[in-house]
Amino acid sequence: MGSQDIEKKNGFAPIVGLKYLFKKPHTIRYPKEDLEVFPVSGNSPNYRGFHTNDLEKCIGCGNCARICPTDAVTMVESTDVRPTNKFAKTVRPVFDYGRCCFCAQCVDVCPTGSLQMSRDYIHTFHPDLSIPVEDEPEIVSKDFIWRADMSRSKNPGYVRNESNKFDKVLNFERIEPKKADPDKRKISFSKYVQIYSKEEASKEASRCLGCGACVEACPNELHIPEYISAISKQDPQESLEWIYKRNPLPLICGEVCTHQCEEACVVGIQGEPLAIRWLKAFSASNVDDYLKTAKITLPKFNGKKLAAVGGGPASLSFGYYARLLGYDVTIYEAEEKLGGAMMWGIPIYRLPKEEMMKDINAILSTGINVHLKTKVGKDIKFEDLMNSYDAVFIGVGNSKPMTLKIKGEDLNGVMQGLTFMHMVNDGSLKDLKGKKVVVVGGGNVAMDVARSSVRLGAQVTIVYRRRIEDMPADPEEIEEAREEGVKIVEMGVPVEIRGKSSVETFEYAVASLVPDPSGGRPKPVVDDRSPHITLSVDYVIAAIGQTPSLDFVPAEIQQKIGFDGRSVPVDEYGHTKVKGLFCGGDASNSRQDIISAIGSGLRAAKGVDLYLAKEEKHV
């Protein structure tokens, strides 16, 4: 074909065109006529039309608003919705269709899958011309700005559902750190979870959306999105700088934190949550000098002196942050080493002592005085501290174990969990080969006792009052304990321990569970019909909780601060009812773990600063 061949003039040409009169038109009068193209009638099956949002599933994380390239999404407090889970918020996305470009990126990043798009084709806007221009915004908001709900979901278009969730832009599978096999790890006290490699860490970190839903769940509200983002950039230094702002024990928490944040992580709703804890361990283990990396500059001493009773995480955190404010802090510790329950409680297969000391030494290097083997109340009087220091912080933790209150508890071979762990950690208990051990309890201490006993060669049975799913211990801990051969007896209530001078048998009753009408955990009830079972055992170890001991504090002060034997009441800054006396850690926290202890220490340091500033004004 070329420019030469011009069609000859043809008289019939107009008639040729006539046949098109009878053809079906191109135009489709939507929605009266369906497009024939798609197997589903109507428009395309994954059409990106208006949004629908399952308000019951949405957690208000705001990721849709953050990704929207046109800024069309606003999170608006909604009074008619319930929070979907413990950590969810009641804000819901509202869409401005004057801005939305229907790109569906918001649907792609919605971690719950509640946000979808419908196949609604038309969007017409009917401005009422009689309304003056000044009133326009209201019309606009009526016609353009909607909170998406389920009303359009009958006609779903672009949807990210369960079946194609691994297909879209979020990564739901966690990068698992390398772990030793149960068979190998149960014969050794060496650490069995390996810290992430650089590649693993940045791959895992790159799953984070940076939404910060986890921050509120962390007892000390660490800068989680920031430090994860730094890891994803392969910058452990910057990451540590963020962590260190609110946590001077980064490696310890990286290894053994109770990681409540992970329960809140939005990626965990449809997949596996970010390994926030392991990521912290990665950063901390890749930095040698914390203080230098975190760019800490120490102020001159301001002349005020503070004392801290106890050398656990609460006092260490208190000491560190008070030192940053210029105070001269002295820690009094009864034991020969610092660390408290981290030193004598947590077994080394979870937290090697040298890792722990790395964190503690960094804190001590800021210039904090430590008196070891100095028990307050015995080696030095509490009143003396109160008199010679500007303020005193109590961080003595929980040392009084709760007892089983059954017959035979005084027999040889019956032990408290804390005592047992102390013996394991100080090396005085070396071998339990061939022994049969019963551990009573379902918390993390019980798991540590059980798993340490396994490593010492014992055959271990855990007896717990409720079901496994009711256990307060970490699900991972429970699973790993079972992998290592620990037997768990559910709904077992101890009845009696028998033996001549030392333990021979342990009897428990199998309870039935009665649901709690007020919605709490079900109650185990033992009655006449409950079967009783007797095990022959060598050791019974009770790990059913502990309370603080304030014996070193004079009775009238104990009374003044309102100590009830379980917990010391304090205000938000850890201040007790006695002026200048502060308390933190397990002794006053409702959540008893390291990060809560750190948080209470940080708050108390601020509290002391505020208190002393106020005192000064009065003088």
């Binding site: 074909m1 070329g2 420019s3 061949d5 011009i6 069609e7 191109h26 497009l35 193209v37 798609f38 197997p39 428009n43 395309s44 099956p45 994954n46 059409y47 990106r48 953050r66 990704i67 390239p69 046109t70 470009c101 229907f102 790109c103 569906a104 990126q105 792609d108 990043v109 798009m117 278009g157 672009y158 297909d167 879209k168 832009v169 979020l170 990564n171 970190a205 790159s206 799953r207 984070c208 959306l209 940076g210 983002s229 994803s232 950039k233």
Partner: protein, 376 residues
């Protein structure tokens, strides 16, 4: 004589003619200011805005993947080249391998978009020559392509379908069959197009010999695509530096040759047939497998420090993305090389001089320029 005197007065010899967005003869939101002498053009001043520069600036403030909602808008008739060129660049810098199936799907999308764009462009010629049948028919047939796109991607014009590492969804069940049906239909229509466009005496009169561009001129002025090939330079990135799976596909570059307006349109018409050929092969050859590889999520999506120029042969020529990253979650700079830039902004100032006013819109449409390319 009085009359003659008037004729020679310089005040009245020239007048200014503005042909801009509201003129049906121009494409898009762009204007030329013409200095006219009688019926013929004396001087051309293109009047570009900042549309395109605005896009580039906006990209620096958005996350890498957020930009995928923005960049298709740089070229309305053929948005997909933007998405693909951008993804190719990002993938290269991150060292991501794209699965074979995704590459085939990308070629299918690109070729389909090319056909849609050719139809759109040729219909534009009908508009400027008063040949409205071609406008309606070609736009009508293009709509079938939009239906296919809607089914595949969820959007009719802006597909937002490419994603670093592949494409967002796999081909829906039965989509390839529909595509094949459409190609059959289109092939049946082509002889009719030929009859009423290329053998049409009016179109021939208006285009043959108009706006002749020599091969040297074309190269000198950086023309690419069908405009370049119509002048006899057989350069096509799909052949010269094959990307995606073009090296596995068998197609020719048609030769039309003498560089006038008619051959530019004819070039597109013949390349359209080649696109059909490519699509048929893709339907045959597309392998099973994943349509996407895993990449970090949008909030942690970082491109390593560096820069890269990726290019794609669009229906208008070389569409290039020069991407600079400083390793952050947002691009440091993205520069877009639009194919109409060289012809619409620079070459037009030469080519239009001496042309009669009624030929100007015809010339514009036979170059198939897309103003957002050079509206900067």
């Amino acid at each position: 004589m009085e009359l003659n005197l008037l004729k020679e007065s310089n005040d009245y010899k020239y007048y200014e003619l503005f042909i801009g967005p509201n003129h049906p003869g121009i494409e898009g939101n762009f204007s030329y200011v013409l200095k006219m002498k009688g019926h013929s053009v004396e001087e051309v001043t293109p009047d570009p805005g900042l549309l395109h520069r605005g896009f580039e600036k906006l990209m620096e403030r958005r996350l890498w993947t957020q930009n995928l909602a923005l960049i298709p808008r740089i070229c309305v008739p053929e948005p997909d080249v933007n998405e693909v060129a951008y993804c190719l660049g990002v993938e290269h810098m991150m060292g991501i391998d794209v699965p074979k199936r995704a590459q085939y799907i990308r070629v299918i999308v690109l070729e389909l978009a090319r056909i849609a764009s050719f139809l759109f462009g040729m219909s534009g010629l009908g508009g400027t020559t008063g040949h409205y049948t071609s406008v309606q028919w070609l736009i009508g047939d293009r709509d079938y392509i939009l239906d296919l796109f809607e089914w595949l991607t969820g959007g009719r014009v802006y597909h937002i379908y490419q994603y670093p590492g592949g494409v967002k969804n796999d081909l829906p069940e039965g989509w390839l069959d529909k595509l094949s049906d459409f190609l059959d239909y289109l092939e049946k229509r082509l002889p009719e197009y030929d009859k009423f466009i290329f053998k049409n005496p009016i179109i021939q009169k208006r285009t043959v010999g108009l706006g002749y561009i020599s091969a040297e001129d074309a190269i000198e002025n950086g023309l690419t695509g069908p405009n370049l090939r119509a002048s006899g330079v057989m350069y096509d990135i799909r052949k010269a530096q094959p990307y995606l799976v073009y090296s596995e596909l068998d197609f020719d570059i048609p030769k039309t040759g003498d560089g006038d307006a008619f051959s530019r349109v004819l070039q597109r018409r013949l390349e359209l047939s080649e696109s059909i050929k490519i699509l048929r092969q893709c339907i045959e050859q597309i392998p099973e497998g994943p349509h996407r590889t895993k990449v970090p999520n949008p909030f942690q999506f970082r491109v390593p420090k560096g820069s890269y120029y990726s290019k794609v042969e669009s229906s208008r020529g070389e569409f290039g993305y020069y991407i600079v990253s400083d390793g952050d979650v947002k691009p440091y700079r993205v520069y877009v090389r639009g194919p109409s830039y060289s012809i619409g902004l620079y070459y037009a100032t030469k080519a239009l001089v001496g042309m009669r006013i009624e030929d100007v819109p015809v010339w514009i449409h036979t170059t198939d320029m897309c103003p957002p390319d050079f509206d900067r």
